[in-house]
């Protein structure tokens, strides 16, 4: 029923495919129910965002934006000789292009706000990546990253120490503690026989790894396979197939609109947009909830080349397509009824030293590690999410290695695919491969790592030095997972997708950007001074009391604290006083008359008298 006047909207087949019905992200029904990403901010971490373009300006969030290349708050792209810095603007348009402005196109989450972090237009360091991943992380909900290490079929790289720390910090502290959502593109190295398990961002448990399929649902020539792929969505394919139509920059040769956006770069922002729709439906979804909902709702479809395998928990996965196609309707309906998954549980094996030669194919080196019930008792881990294997291997030609991991169920993941172009002589030095193919399966049991050399050397040359297994999951049992699957299927009719239904959401944590609650050295010094003064004053006071006591004889009788008048207490004039020996009244009833405080008060009744002034009145008092 929605009809936008944006001139290119009819060509945005990924949103509403009229030529091949069903081959789109299935978003229009969600929009019809007013789920458009309202209240959610997506940030494009890229080469800048031209936020003055008509499709972006009304949704632009300056608060979430920054330019790390020029160190200023404005992420406006800088024109270059290659007309190349339009990338971030195109991604931003896919996510949040404003509809009905007669300009160009419509974004998946056109009600969301869009920010930009310009970081790719210049040299990049680990520390800059770390800054980018946490920039304005209480404003930005979703970080869309359509970039990564070189997809040349020979690079093994990923976040370094600071980037890793920032991803981890983002999921813990970002978005009021619900966790920043990091969406990453899986890679464009298909024609170089590359594989996204050699990309550390794709392997990270903190990221949502998104691949691309063309309009026909097939893996495009540029796409990469890997065991850590979570899901796929649409993008361009070969020349005969349509690309993604989206907003573009209007600098250089740009017109403000393009029909030719493609690559996994075009797929990741669509996923980011769909996650924005989920977060509007249920703002308190955690970063792990988002991953779970993708796994539970991504749709397997007919593609014989995809080599789908169904795991023990009933989830189908393919190294080409992850758990399948993202479907906005299914994602949002699932989000609406989703209650948070249990805490993240993990188990890490010790580093297992092997020092064993890797044989040439068809022979294999098989090593295994058994995870017992006792091993998992401490964390409570029962069912799996991500499984990671960290290896150190020497080999004169790294690309000849092939690594397969078998979960206890027998589910196989090709975690280290051979790469013909990778002739690096340094092997792997503590590289972490990961797989999501065992998602929902039981964690207990024996994990097998099978390594072989598929090169054409005469003698085996590689050595598996050591390896380590790390499991991530939760206390959910297989029964819990099946129950959740049933709950979601029940919600897919859309019956909960209206404003009248919403599960309660916790408010989240108020996390200050700086540590404002810790004591500064100056505060500590002040406290110490105040403390010293208090001690000094206490000692002085006690000494004064003691000396005054010594000067007041009690004539052999014990000194007593006089009982003070009720009226004085009521009137608030009951002053603290030194003990007096009021022999006459010591055991008698409390007198009704004026209190004996006069013994310590001056003539005006206010100023205390020094103890020696009392001596003259000794007989009256004690």
């Amino acid at each position: 029923s929605l009809n936008f006047n944006d001139p290119k909207f009819p060509q945005q087949w990924h949103l509403n495919n009229r030529r091949s019905p069903g081959r789109d992200i299935n978003v229009t029904g969600v929009w019809e129910r007013n789920v458009t990403g309202r209240g959610v901010t997506v940030v494009v971490v890229d080469d800048g965002v031209e936020h003055t373009v008509l499709d972006i300006a009304p949704n632009y969030s300056p608060e979430g934006s920054y330019d790390l290349n020029s160190n200023d708050p404005d992420p406006m792209p800088h024109p270059d000789v290659e007309n190349g810095n339009h990338h971030g603007t195109r991604c931003a348009g896919e996510i949040a292009a404003v509809p009905n402005n007669s300009f160009c196109a419509v974004g998946v989450a056109y009600g969301s706000r869009i920010a930009g972090i310009r970081v790719l237009d210049g040299p990049l360091t680990d520390s800059m990546e770390a800054v980018a991943f946490n920039k304005h992380y209480q404003i930005n909900d979703i970080y869309s990253c359509s970039w990564g290490p070189d997809d040349d079929g020979k690079t093994v790289d990923g976040p370094h120490q600071l980037g890793k720390a920032a991803l981890q910090h983002g999921v813990m502290a970002g978005r009021k503690g619900f966790g920043s959502i990091f969406v990453v593109a899986s890679g464009n190295g298909g024609q170089h026989n590359d594989n996204c398990n050699y990309d550390g961002y794709a392997n990270s448990i903190y990221t949502v790894t998104i691949g691309a399929v063309d309009e026909e649902g097939r893996m495009p020539f540029y796409a990469e396979e890997c065991a850590s792929m979570l899901a796929v969505t649409f993008s361009g394919g070969d020349k005969m197939l349509r690309g993604i139509v989206t907003t573009d920059w209007d600098l250089q040769k740009g017109t403000g609109c393009t029909e030719g956006h493609t690559g996994t770069s075009a797929a990741a922002p669509l996923a980011a947009g769909m996650i924005a729709l989920m977060l509007q439906a249920r703002p308190c979804l955690t970063w792990r909830d988002v991953q779970h909902i993708i796994v539970f709702t991504a749709a397997q479809y007919e593609d014989r080349r995809a080599d789908w395998v169904t795991n023990e928990a009933g989830f189908s996965h393919s190294h080409q397509h992850g758990f399948g196609l993202l479907n906005a309707w299914r994602l949002v309906n699932a989000a609406k009824v989703w209650t948070s998954v249990p805490y993240l549980a993990s188990y890490a094996s010790p580093v297992v030293k092997e020092n064993r030669a890797i044989p040439l194919a068809p022979h294999t080196l098989e090593v295994s590690w058994n995870v017992s019930r006792t091993d998992l008792e401490m964390s409570g881990l029962k069912t799996l999410e991500h499984v990671a294997v960290t290896v150190s291997i020497t080999h004169p030609r790294r690309g000849s290695l092939e690594l397969r991991l078998f979960c206890p169920s027998g589910m196989m993941s090709l975690i280290g695919a051979p790469r013909s172009m990778d002739s690096d002589p340094n092997g792997f030095n503590d590289w972490t491969f990961s797989t999501v193919r065992c998602w929902g399966e039981r964690a207990k049991g024996t994990y097998r790592l099978v390594v072989r050399d598929v090169g054409d050397e005469v003698a085996p040359a590689g050595v598996l030095l050591h390896w380590r297994l790390t499991l991530y999951g939760s206390v959910w049992s297989p029964v819990d997972i099946r129950e959740r699957q049933r709950l979601l299927e029940n919600a897919m009719s859309g019956k909960y997708l209206h404003d009248g239904f919403s599960l309660p959401c916790p408010p989240g944590l108020e996390i200050p950007p700086e540590d404002s609650h810790t004591l500064t050295p100056n505060t500590l010094k002040t406290l110490v001074l105040v403390g010293c003064f208090s001690i000094f004053w206490t000692v002085y006071y006690l000494l004064e009391v003691y000396l005054s006591q010594r000067s007041v004889p009690c004539r052999g009788r014990p000194c007593r604290w006089p009982q003070r008048g009720r009226r004085a207490r009521e009137e608030g004039t009951d002053l603290e006083s030194v003990p007096l020996c009021n022999g006459k009244d010591a055991d008698g009833p409390e007198p009704e008359g004026p209190p004996s405080t006069a013994t310590l008060l001056g003539p005006d009744g206010l100023v205390p008298q020094a103890p020696d002034l009392l001596r003259g009145a000794e007989e009256q008092v004690c």
Partner: protein, 103 residues
């Protein structure tokens, strides 16, 4: 500090070190920053500020003009010697350029 806005303002082509500090005098942010300033100075560098939101992580850079005056290798040797030897430095790494491509 090297710049008003911390490590974001650093030219990435220049020498720089990421340093992860253990807090010397308690958990206070100000104490950490003061300690980072002192340590950077000892290493012949300047504390350019905290790295994003990462607590205890700082970026150290050579003072303006110093890199031209001294050979990069000399700067590197002094920095590595001081940072590598100090017990409050949990981890440090010279920042290298990363190759990242749009996809």
């Amino acid at each position: 500090r090297a710049g008003p806005s911390g490590p974001e303002g650093q030219g990435p082509g220049a020498l720089s070190w990421a340093v992860h500090l253990d807090s010397p005098g308690g958990p206070g942010q100000e104490a950490l920053e003061q300690w980072a300033d002192t340590l950077a100075q000892a290493a012949g560098l300047v504390n350019a500020g905290r790295i994003g939101e990462l607590r205890g992580h700082y970026l150290f850079v050579p003072p303006a003009g110093a890199q031209q005056a001294r050979q990069a290798e000399t700067v590197r040797q002094q920095a590595e010697a001081v940072l590598g030897a100090h017990e409050t430095v949990r981890w440090h790494s010279e920042q290298r350029l990363l190759r990242r491509t749009k996809r």
